[in-house]
């Protein structure tokens, strides 16, 4: 076979495979988006229908009739906000110190922290519940957030970033009599915007989607975050129609989906970097 024809065929085959998988990964989103504007009769019809008829917003209306739904959105946003802010401050400080300052036991401490990435969350679950309980912070978003404001992978990401900066910048600052803490505020932080952005985005995604922590540490419905609230509001026994659940799921997932679509290039690259070195 002529090599040019062969190459052509190879490219076509690649597109076929890529599109087949894209269909599998996207169709649940597309299907639920369409169904959220259908009546339940139509959404549950067999074979599946693709055009809402009649087009209806009733599912979204029913969803916001759930009194607590807006409250859960707010709680999730507060929780994600605290987690993002905490990680930006705490892990950039720690990452900077691990990368740029020397002190006894530095590498041992860093390895010890890194090893926590391999520790399954379930072993620490009950003890952490007891600690938070003793602190009187059960059913409080602050108590829940305390567990996640200094994420180890964020520390790792910040450290790697600070290690990648040229040493001369810090040397120059030191020669000018700038102490280590001052250098953090005036040199390291302003240079760290890309890494801070990455930490913020990953932590936002993690906090917005978190389930196990909020399920255990938040107790009363008005303090729930979206995933916990939805999982209870849509408990299997309460179904009469499923379309409001689909609408609720889409509303809850919208911030992460939009964020990802806007930042997709940056995010896919960033995760690749951390994954390669994890």
């Amino acid at each position: 076979m002529n090599p040019r024809v062969r190459k052509r065929l190879w490219v076509i085959a690649t597109y076929v495979v890529l599109s087949f998988f894209a269909f599998i990964y996207l169709v649940p989103f597309i299907r639920s988006f369409i169904a959220s504007f259908m009546t339940w009769e139509q959404a549950s019809a067999y074979p599946p229908q693709w055009i809402p008829n009649p087009f209806t917003l009733i599912n979204y209306v029913k969803l916001f009739r759930l009194e607590l739904f807006p409250r859960w959105i707010l709680n999730t946003a507060i929780y994600a906000g605290i987690i993002v802010a905490g990680n930006i401050v705490l892990t950039s400080m720690a990452g900077y110190a691990f990368a740029r300052l020397s002190f006894p036991g530095r590498d041992a401490l860093f390895s010890a922290l890194l090893a926590l990435l391999m520790v399954p969350a379930f072993i620490t679950l009950v003890p952490n519940y007891i600690i938070i309980y003793r602190l009187g912070l059960i059913d409080n978003i602050l108590g829940l957030a305390l567990l996640g404001i200094a994420n180890v992978s964020s520390i790792f990401l910040m450290r790697q970033y600070f290690l990648s900066l040229p040493q001369e910048v810090f040397d120059a600052a030191r020669l000018d009599g700038c102490g280590p803490v001052k250098a953090y505020f005036y040199i390291a932080l302003p240079l760290a915007k890309p890494a801070l952005g990455a930490v913020a985005v990953y932590q936002f995604l993690g906090a917005w989607n978190a389930f196990l922590g909020p399920l255990i540490f938040l107790r009363s419905p008005e303090n729930f975050t979206l995933p916990v609230g939805l999982s209870f509001a849509f408990a299997r026994t309460m179904w009469t129609e499923y379309t409001p659940i689909i609408a609720g799921s889409l509303v809850a997932a919208a911030p992460t989906i939009l964020l990802f679509i806007v930042l997709n290039k940056y995010l896919i690259r960033g995760i690749a970097i951390t994954a390669g070195k994890g």
């Binding site: 690649t14 597109y15 890529l18 599109s19 998988f21 894209a22 599998i24 990964y25 996207l26 649940p28 639920s32 169904a35 959404a43 549950s44 067999y46 599946p48 705490l90 400080m93 720690a94 110190a97 300052l101 020397s102 006894p104 530095r106 401490l109 922290l113 391999m118 520790v119 399954p120 379930f122 072993i123 679950l125 009950v126 003890p127 007891i130 305390l146 200094a150 102490g179 280590p180 803490v181 995604l205 989607n209 389930f211 408990a235 499923y242 659940i245 689909i246 609720g248 799921s249 992460t256 989906i257 964020l259 997709n264 995010l267 896919i268 995760i271 690749a272 994954a275 390669g276 994890g278």
Partner: protein, 320 residues
């Protein structure tokens, strides 16, 4: 004349240097303390406390009572009951263990292989490839609870998935979520769908770090795309495969969210969706036996530790 090294300078600058070093260590401690402290308390202290707690009987309020290995006896008896065929409600831990091992045996290999295939195809330099990467990664940024809620609907008897299946296997239309023979497979499919895109990105990074000339040399030797994949790509991907499998094992063995939503906290029909993680949750927060829960979590810890350790030992090196 060569400048003298620092150590041979007169004592005054040396002391100054030491003072500077001391100051640096102090500032480092200041900067690190909060982040390290929180992780030591909620990570290491909690881990050791879990081991400690697993030897005690407690109800969260009253005094703790040392019971030796009693909590572990609960687990062993549970497994023995399960092995001798007790109904699933009488052997919850065994049920969870059996399910999670089957689930892991399905999910980890499939998601790893799928992630490699996706990465290899998405690594081609062709137009519009970013769109495909976004499509594959989208499930990974979506909350598992939400994914599970949507898939319950797609998995209904007259749902979309059965509709698609009848083009491939006519007549095969199980009631996935309500049939104890299919529930675990439904959960496994959702997990694979949700995480393979995430690991694809890891493989993409590894693929991009393979130098081009390796492939060019192979092409000159007349190796076709399949042989290049088998003899060059796969061996060079090995460290990343080990990493992805280890991360996959850690995730799969403590699967919780999907089972909670798709099967419910009691494991759904016939306990088919029950997992060790659900059992630990029920033990700790429903039955209020933190000691037994801690013993079960120690079991899970060693299950994860041993499987990942054996796997890494066999295939060596963690990517650095």
């Amino acid at each position: 004349m060569k400048p003298k090294p620092f150590s041979q300078l007169s004592s005054k600058p040396k002391r100054l240097l030491e003072k500077k070093k001391y100051r640096e260590a102090l500032s480092a401690l200041l900067l690190i303390s909060l982040a390290a402290g929180l992780n030591i308390v909620f990570g290491y202290f909690a881990m050791f406390f879990a081991f400690y707690l697993s030897f005690f009987k407690w109800d969260y309020i009253g005094p703790m009572e040392f019971v030796g290995l009693k909590n572990y006896e609960v687990i062993v008896k549970d497994i023995i009951r399960g092995l001798s065929g007790a109904f699933y409600t009488f052997a919850p831990f065994y049920t969870g263990l059996r399910n999670i091992l089957l689930y892991t045996a399905i999910v980890v290999p499939v998601q790893t292989i799928l992630a490699i295939i996706l990465a290899v195809f998405a690594n081609q330099k062709i137009k519009g490839v970013q769109f495909y990467k976004v499509a594959y990664f989208l499930p990974a940024v979506t909350c598992p609870v939400i994914v599970a809620l949507i898939f319950i609907w797609l998995f209904m008897k007259n749902g979309f998935i059965n509709y698609m299946i009848q083009f491939i296997a006519p007549g095969f239309a199980p009631d996935w979520i309500n049939d104890k023979n299919y529930l675990l497979y439904a959960i496994a499919l959702v997990a694979i769908w949700g995480t393979s895109g995430h690991f694809m990105v890891s493989f993409l990074a590894a693929l991009q770090s393979i130098p081009r000339d390796v492939y060019e040399a192979a092409m000159l030797d007349g190796a076709g795309p399949f042989r290049r994949f088998i003899y060059i790509t796969l061996p060079l991907l090995r460290p990343m495969i080990v990493y992805v499998v280890v991360m996959g094992l850690i995730g799969a063995l403590q699967m919780f969210d999907l089972a909670w939503v798709m099967a419910g906290s009691s494991g759904g029909p016939g306990g088919a969706g029950y997992t060790i993680a659900l059992d630990i949750y029920n033990e700790a927060f429903i039955k209020l036996r933190p000691g037994v829960a801690a013993a079960k979590s120690v079991f899970l810890f060693f299950l994860i530790f041993i499987t990942t350790y054996v796997f890494q030992k066999k295939y060596r090196v963690l990517p650095r």
